[in-house]
């Protein structure tokens, strides 16, 4: 059952990647795309496929994997199924700091925008935890309320920044607040890689500890988990994943909420298996969502965040109804 689910996941990832590569405003046949991928065909086709579509796919895969990983880790760390980087305001905090950086930094220092995103996400994470924590993990009520508070503060900062920004910086700042992979390029993918791979390694290393934390902090500490250390590292890793994702692709909600739950249904609760499958499924779902966002309205491109929200909100409502 798990074996065949793994096979399906692999096929799904492949299908999502192919569909993404075959989607775009330039009319290219599957054969032309394939030829361009292996370095043949017209120069124009190669430009479209290798410089535009491939980076776009890679960015969607990395961001989706990162958000799903962060969601899976936060759900376990906070012992709460409603934890999600978007709902908790972590993505919002990252977006507020990144927007501020886009507007305020001199042009030569715009490479620091992702770092600002990570800083904002880390600050938001710390605030949410401080507001929501309890002896048996974070209660759902407090967690969601803390997320509301942080998201409200983040929106206020973003609106303020946009209102005061000089005209030529506004589009860049807006791109951060609206999830989209339209601005993908090979160099941006390269920049995002460390923000994804390093935190992923940290989270995988703490996989077993995260599983124990899923039963509450006191329980985990009694089983030998160094809670202070693990919590700090997991928070930083989640903040890096979300802050990086926001800086390169804007705010995309619900991938971090939905994906781990789907994986738990299919693959069970084993924490490290859950983290790996969440990353892969999050990548596939996000790439598919981006393809859908480009195809659903002919001639127009929706922000991918709209698609993930349409799929994610009903799921969130169902979870909320069930979790009392």
């Amino acid at each position: 059952m798990r074996r065949s689910a793994d096979l399906l996941l692999g096929l799904g990832l492949l299908a999502a990647a192919l569909a993404s590569l075959l989607t775009g405003s330039a009319a290219l046949s599957p054969a032309e795309v394939g030829t361009a991928l292996v370095g043949g065909g017209t120069a124009e086709a190669r430009l479209v496929v290798v410089s535009l579509r491939l980076p776009r796919l890679a960015l969607a895969l990395l961001v989706g994997a990162g958000l799903a990983l962060a969601g899976a880790a936060l759900q376990l760390l906070l012992a709460n199924p409603l934890a999600d980087p978007f709902l908790l305001g972590i993505s919002g905090g990252g977006a507020a700091a990144a927007t501020l950086a886009v507007v305020a930094l001199p042009a030569a220092m715009l490479g620091l925008v992702p770092l600002a995103g990570v800083g904002g996400a880390a600050l938001a994470t710390g605030l949410v935890w401080w507001m929501a924590r309890g002896p048996l993990g974070a209660s759902s009520t407090r967690l969601i309320l803390a997320g509301v508070a942080v998201n409200a503060a983040a929106s206020a900062v973003i609106l303020l920044v946009l209102a005061l920004a000089s005209g030529n910086r506004v589009p860049g700042a807006l791109a951060v607040t609206m999830g989209s992979f339209a601005g993908a390029s090979a160099s941006r993918v390269g920049w995002l890689l460390p923000y994804t791979l390093l935190p992923a390694a940290v989270l995988l290393h703490h996989g077993r500890d995260l599983g124990l934390l899923g039963t509450g902090e006191e329980s985990a500490a009694g089983l030998g988990v160094d809670v202070l250390v693990v919590r700090r590292q997991v928070f930083l890793a989640a903040a890096a994943l979300c802050g990086g994702a926001v800086a390169f692709a804007g705010v995309i909600g619900f991938v971090g909420l939905v994906t781990p739950h789907l994986c738990r249904l299919v693959w069970g609760p084993a924490p490290r298996r859950l983290l790996v499958r969440s990353a892969l499924l999050g990548a596939a779902l996000t790439a598919a969502g981006d393809t859908l966002a480009r195809r659903i309205v002919p001639g127009a491109e929706l922000p991918v965040g709209v698609v993930t929200a349409v799929l994610g909100v009903p799921f969130f409502v169902a979870l909320l109804r069930r979790s009392a």
Binding site: G211, S219, G222
Partner: protein, 292 residues
């Protein structure tokens, strides 16, 4: 003596001292009942003894080694802990939850092997959970969950086992089974400490009773000698009658006495013996979430 020794142990949350100074011994092969009214500091004392709450003063020695000098995982291999409750935020089966008890032996990466599976099976069998092996824990009753938590701690094969109110929510049959299980462990050389609210259960279960009152040890000794009507009236604020039963004296509560007004009363400022570092102030206060 080998086992767990606490000397001048003090601790609490933020600036509030809840426990201490307490001197205590939990020898291996003996069972100690920790008794006391609500708010006496029983759970806090247990957290200090397990090492998941950092003391503000004093020390804990486990099998001749300073508890705080051990890495958390190492300490958890020696001292098992059954918390009062756990969150069951995600569906876990009984087997999966009991396997968590092997984590101190596995570290971050080593997969569970035959020895781990054998320890888990033995713990599940000991607590009569064999039929529930694949039952999701979140569908079980509070009492059944207590048994799962106990099994999880047993699977870790600790030398000392500290339990915070394991009898809460158990029906009488399961309470007696708990007594048998703990006595069995103690006979195999485990040192046990059990926080209990039931004096008569403490008599059946423990070799020693420690009565905690407002963070201090009010009495210590064999349960039948410690649990006098006078002590129960003074510490718990309850008038009891000692009735002779076939297997020994039994305490039957009559009514709450006048002294009950002192229950849970905050300690007077500067009241009680001082903790070493309360005077020296060598260590900053530890935040409530401090988990070593």
């Amino acid at each position: 003596m080998s086992g767990l020794i606490a000397r001048g142990l003090c601790g609490g949350y933020g600036a509030r001292r809840v426990v201490g100074p307490v001197d205590l011994q939990l020898p291996v092969g003996r069972c100690t009942a920790v008794l006391g009214p609500n708010g006496a500091g029983k759970s806090t004392l247990l957290r200090l003894l397990v090492g998941i709450l950092r003391p503000t003063a004093g020390e804990v020695e486990v099998l001749g080694r300073e508890l705080l000098s051990l890495r958390r995982r190492e300490a958890a291999r020696l001292v098992g802990f059954v918390p009062q409750a756990v969150t069951v935020a995600f569906p876990l089966t009984v087997y999966e939850m009991v396997m968590q008890g092997r984590a101190p032996h596995l570290g971050p990466w080593r997969p569970a092997g035959p020895a781990d599976e054998a320890a888990v099976e033995a713990a599940i069998r000991d607590l009569g959970l064999a039929a529930h092996r694949h039952t999701p824990v979140h569908t079980m009753s509070g009492g059944e969950r207590q048994l799962v938590l106990l099994a999880r701690a047993l699977a870790g094969e600790p030398r000392l086992l500290l339990m915070d109110e394991p009898a809460t929510g158990l029906d009488v049959r399961h309470q007696l089974a708990l007594v048998d299980t703990v006595r069995g462990l103690v006979a195999r050389g485990v040192g046990a400490a059990v926080v209990l609210h039931d004096w008569n259960l403490a008599r059946r279960l423990a070799d020693t009773a420690v009565v905690l009152d407002r963070g201090l040890v009010a009495a210590e000794g064999p349960p039948d000698e410690v649990l006098t009507t006078a002590l129960v009236a003074r510490v718990f604020g309850v008038t009891v009658e000692r009735v002779a039963a076939s297997e020994g004296p039994v305490l039957v509560p009559q009514h709450a006495s006048v002294a009950a007004s002192s229950i849970g009363a905050p300690k007077a400022p500067g009241g009680g013996p001082a903790c070493r570092s309360d005077r020296a102030a060598t260590r900053p206060p530890t935040p409530p979430d401090a988990v070593a």
